[in-house]
Every structure is written in structure tokens, then in C-alpha cells.
């Protein structure tokens, strides 16, 4: 946001999510919405994260548990299919991993600097029940 003077902004310490009027926002995908620069959607908080979730689509059953439980709406799902994680807003809390029901899990936490290829290569195999 530009460093404007005290007389140049709207009163009330309020911020608009969109510039101007919006229509059918519920029917518009996030990436297609014209968020204003003041919306938190356009701000990355990736640097809050110490560990990151990595998604392995080979095991995912699209149960949507991660989508339901993510406190930051950072699970990207389209047509009820899990696509991946919004890494600009994920804070690495690990809840998606915790609630993932597959065996092995379809989401696992890795160090922030581990690349996806390395992470997938380290993926555990199915745990056999005794």
C-alpha cells in the first residue's frame, strides 16, 4: 500500500477486499477474483513456515479432510479433487497431515528447503497392520 497522507484514505481503519463492487463471489474461483492490494490474499506469509506439507497424489483418495480442516484455506481443491497446497498462505501447522487418513499419508511435513522430488523419493511405504 502506498505511503499516502492522513487525509487520503477512508476513515475507520477498514480495508476493502475488492476495489469496487463485486458480483457472484461465491461462484468465482479464488484465482479469478480481482482482490485489491489490501486483501490478505495477495500477501505472502510463506516465511512464517518452518516445515512445509508436501502432497503425494499417488495415495490421495480425495476425501477432502485436509480441505475441511485447514485453518488457513490453503488446501487447493477443484471439483472435489485435491490439487495441492497454497504455499503463499500455508503456515506449516501440519493439521492436514494429522487428519489425512490414507496409509501411507498423502501429505507429510518436510523441511522448508527440501525439494518436492527429494521429498517424494523419501515417501514411506504402507504400514502393515500387525
Amino acid at each position: 500500500m502506498a505511503n499516502i497522507g492522513w487525509d487520503e484514505f477512508e476513515i475507520g481503519a477498514m480495508l476493502r477486499t475488492f476495489d469496487g463492487k463485486i458480483d457472484d463471489i461465491a461462484g468465482t474461483l479464488q484465482e479469478d477474483r480481482a482482490y485489491s492490494p489490501n486483501s490478505s490474499f495477495v500477501a505472502s506469509v510463506a516465511d512464517w513456515r518452518i516445515k512445509k506439507p508436501v502432497f503425494n497424489k499417488d495415495f490421495c483418495i480425495d476425501c477432502q479432510f485436509c480441505w475441511v480442516y485447514c485453518p488457513d484455506l490453503s488446501i487447493i481443491a477443484r471439483d472435489k479433487k485435491m490439487i495441492g497446497v497454497d504455499m503463499d498462505h500455508c503456515k506449516g501447522c501440519g493439521i492436514c497431515v494429522e487428519v489425512c487418513p490414507t496409509n501411507p499419508k498423502s501429505l507429510l511435513m518436510f523441511n522448508e528447503h527440501t525439494d518436492e522430488e527429494t521429498a517424494l523419493a523419501q515417501w514411506p511405504t504402507k504400514e502393515e497392520k500387525e
Binding site: 492522513w6 476513515i11 481503519a13 477498514m14 476493502r16 475488492f18 463471489i25
Partner: protein, 407 residues
């Protein structure tokens, strides 16, 4: 409108609380979130009864504390409703944190404050300690002297606070018990006339406008906080008093009752005058008249708008006066009183700087008697005759024990 109207007599016998409750009914408040406290309880109780009886289309939110009451008001106001509540004393003190939120968020909430002392020692009676506690909170503060004022000033408060050029919350103060529980004749407005004066609520940046989503209650740090506070102060200093004056003017046309930013009584040729607030103004007026019969040119200045402080108007009202007493009904606890300081500030750069003394009186509901005021005027006249202040600058009135005077 989906509610019943109430037939009122031209003059009703109401106490200050009921007068305020009637004003809330006639203004058709959408939401009252309240945690009742003596002596303000009958205001929100009155609203609740009017609501239950079908005279209001609104919502009464019962909460667990005054902090929650004002928080509920903030939410309802940000959502886009006409919102009011009432409190006193300890409840007011508990609201303080949220009062700053309300003004900073520019939400036009109306808070009826029935002035009461602050503990310790615990006390339910009227003084101005709670009113003084709110004076830096960024709210507009209007002061009623009697039930009639408490009724009228509520309408003025909505009119001013909700103006889109203002958008600041407003307190209407009345003295605990002396005004809130003393029944007097109150000239009423009909429901239609009262509502048309206040007008329909016009939302601004409301959260329920789904086509223009907003985030309220944002965080700013050193990069933005100062600009927001500066804007709020600017609007209080430049926009509010003219809007209050305009509301007073249109209210006078409607009701015949005239209010002023600073009320002056017998001030045209006054040598000595008392500046005070609340129900004391009426006592002082009576004594001033009696002093004039004894040859002392006495006058009274009543503060009607406490915040924003009418700095220039006070200086104008006190022009030509020789000795002034500033009466503070709150213990300043280690300083001159608030009114003393504000008036000193207003007069310091004027040519005829009158002699100014401060008096602390009436704490915890202690009476300010006519005799107290007669002695006070006599003391001011002695200052005039001597050409200098003959007492100390700060004195206590009506307290038992050895005379208390400082500075």
C-alpha cells in the same frame, strides 16, 4: 414500520433514565447490547421493555460484562445497524478498552453514561469520575443537566454521530440519581417528529454489504497508526462542533428548545462566574440570580459539549469576566482539575486573562448546596475587589475535616 407507536402527552413526568429510554425507542435502535449497572439500569431495561411490548423492531443482546456489551455494540455497528447502550462507573471503566476501538473504527454508537463515582471506596452515587475517564477516548461527549436534556441530547447524538462527515461515537452524560432518578416535566416529541429528526440509519462501510466486502478492526503499526489517529483528531477538532451546532439549530426549529456548545447564563455583564457541568449548572444558576440581588454580578457557564472541548467558545463566553471558578466533580488525584486546566489553556493566550481558581466538589454524590455556591461567589468577588487571587488555586468544597487547599 412494523411496530406500534406510543401516544405521549406534551409534557410527561419522566426521570432522566426513562427520558433516555424513550429517546432510544423513538430513534428505533436496531441493537442494544447491555450489561445493566446502577444508576443507568432503567435505560436499557426501558429499551428491553419497549422491545418486548412491540414498540421497537430491534435486538437486545444480553452479555456477560460491559466489555462484552461495548464489543457487541462495535460488532453490530460495523455490521451496519443503529446501536446504543448505557452504563455507569465501574461498567464504564470496564468498557474503556472497547471505547477506543469504537472511535478508532469510526462507529457511531451512542452510549448513555449515567455519571457515577469510581471505586474505591465503592459508591453508587453521582460524580464525574467516569465521565472524565472517557475524555481521551475519541468519543464525542455531551452533557445533560436535567431529564429534558437527557431526552433531547440523545436525538442530537444520533444526528451528529451518524453523519457521514463525522462517524464518531457519542456519549450522552447525565448525573447519577440527581438527573437519572429525579422525575421532572419533560416536553416530548411525537414518535414521527422524533424519528424524522434522527432519520433513517445510513450505513457506511457496513459488513453486511456483501457487494463491497470490508475488513474492520485492522492492525497498523508505526507505518499507519499515526495517520489514522491524526485523521480522527482532525475530524474531532474541525468537523464535530459545526455539526453539533447545526443539529442544535435544527432541533430548536423543531422543538423550540435551544442548546449551545457552551451555555451562558447571566454572563453579559458578569464580573464573577462559575464554570461547571451536569446538574450543578442549574443550582449555580439559581445562586447566581440570588447573588445579583445582593449586588454581585454573578454568572454561570455550563459545559454542554465536553469533547471535543469548545476551546474558542469557552474563551469567548468568559470574555470580560474578572474572576472564574472552575468546578471539577472528579478527584484529579495529583493535579489541578480537568476543567481548570482546559479553561486555563483556553484563556492563557487571550488579552484579558481572568483570575482562575479550581474547586473540587461533590465526590461520591456529596451535595453541592446553594450555600457552598454563595460562599464561592463571595470568594470570587473578594478576588475581584483585591485585584488578585486571595485563596490558593485549588480548594475542596463540602469535605469534612480541616480546610483542604493546594497550589
Amino acid at each position: 414500520m412494523a411496530f406500534d407507536k406510543m401516544e405521549l402527552k406534551d409534557i410527561e413526568v419522566w426521570d432522566g433514565n426513562f427520558a433516555a429510554a424513550q429517546a432510544l425507542r423513538q430513534s428505533q435502535i436496531d441493537v442494544v447490547a447491555a450489561y445493566p449497572i446502577t444508576p443507568s439500569t432503567p435505560i436499557v431495561e426501558g429499551y428491553a421493555k419497549f422491545l418486548a411490548d412491540g414498540y421497537i423492531e430491534g435486538e437486545f443482546v444480553m452479555v456477560e460484562s460491559e466489555h462484552a456489551a461495548m464489543s457487541g455494540c462495535v460488532g453490530a455497528s460495523a455490521a451496519g445497524g443503529r446501536v446504543a447502550t448505557a452504563t455507569s462507573s465501574q461498567g464504564f471503566a470496564l468498557m474503556i478498552e472497547v471505547l477506543y476501538q469504537a472511535s478508532g473504527m469510526r462507529l457511531p454508537i451512542i452510549l448513555n453514561v449515567v455519571n457515577r463515582a469510581l471505586a474505591a471506596p465503592l459508591n453508587v452515587n453521582g460524580d464525574h469520575a467516569d465521565m472524565y475517564l472517557g475524555r481521551d477516548s475519541g468519543w464525542i461527549q455531551l452533557g445533560a443537566y436535567c431529564p429534558q436534556d437527557a431526552y433531547d441530547l440523545n436525538f442530537i447524538a444520533f444526528k451528529v454521530a451518524e453523519d457521514h462527515d463525522v462517524r464518531l461515537p457519542c456519549m450522552v452524560h447525565q448525573d447519577g440519581f440527581m438527573t437519572s432518578h429525579t422525575a421532572q416535566g419533560v416536553h416530548t416529541l411525537t414518535d414521527d417528529v422524533a424519528y424524522s429528526f434522527v432519520g433513517d440509519f445510513k450505513p457506511m462501510n457496513d459488513m453486511l454489504d456483501f457487494e463491497h466486502p470490508v475488513t474492520h478492526g485492522v492492525q497498523t503499526e508505526e507505518d499507519w497508526h499515526f495517520e489514522h489517529k491524526a485523521r480522527q483528531h482532525n475530524d474531532l477538532m474541525t468537523k464535530v462542533l459545526p455539526k453539533i451546532q447545526a443539529a442544535f439549530d435544527s432541533f430548536e426549529k423543531l422543538s423550540g428548545r435551544k442548546y449551545n456548545l457552551v451555555e451562558s447564563y447571566d454572563m453579559a455583564d458578569a464580573d464573577v462566574c462559575v464554570v461547571c457541568m451536569g446538574s450543578s449548572v442549574e443550582t449555580a444558576r439559581e445562586v447566581a440570580t440570588e447573588m445579583r440581588a445582593k449586588g454581585i454580578k454573578a454568572g454561570v457557564v455550563g459545559i454542554r459539549v465536553i469533547r471535543p472541548f469548545p476551546f474558542m467558545e469557552i474563551a469567548e463566553a468568559l470574555k470580560g469576566v474578572k474572576a472564574i471558578a472552575a468546578l471539577d466533580r472528579s478527584s484529579p488525584n495529583g493535579a489541578p482539575g480537568m476543567l481548570f486546566n482546559e479553561i486555563a489553556g483556553a484563556l492563557y493566550n487571550t488579552a484579558d486573562r481572568a483570575m482562575l481558581c479550581g474547586y473540587i466538589y461533590g465526590l461520591g454524590g456529596r451535595d453541592l448546596t446553594k450555600k457552598h455556591l454563595a460562599n464561592l461567589y463571595t470568594e470570587l468577588q473578594a478576588n475581584v475587589d483585591a485585584g488578585k487571587i486571595t485563596t490558593q488555586l485549588q480548594q475542596f468544597i463540602g469535605v469534612r475535616g480541616p480546610k483542604l487547599a493546594f497550589l
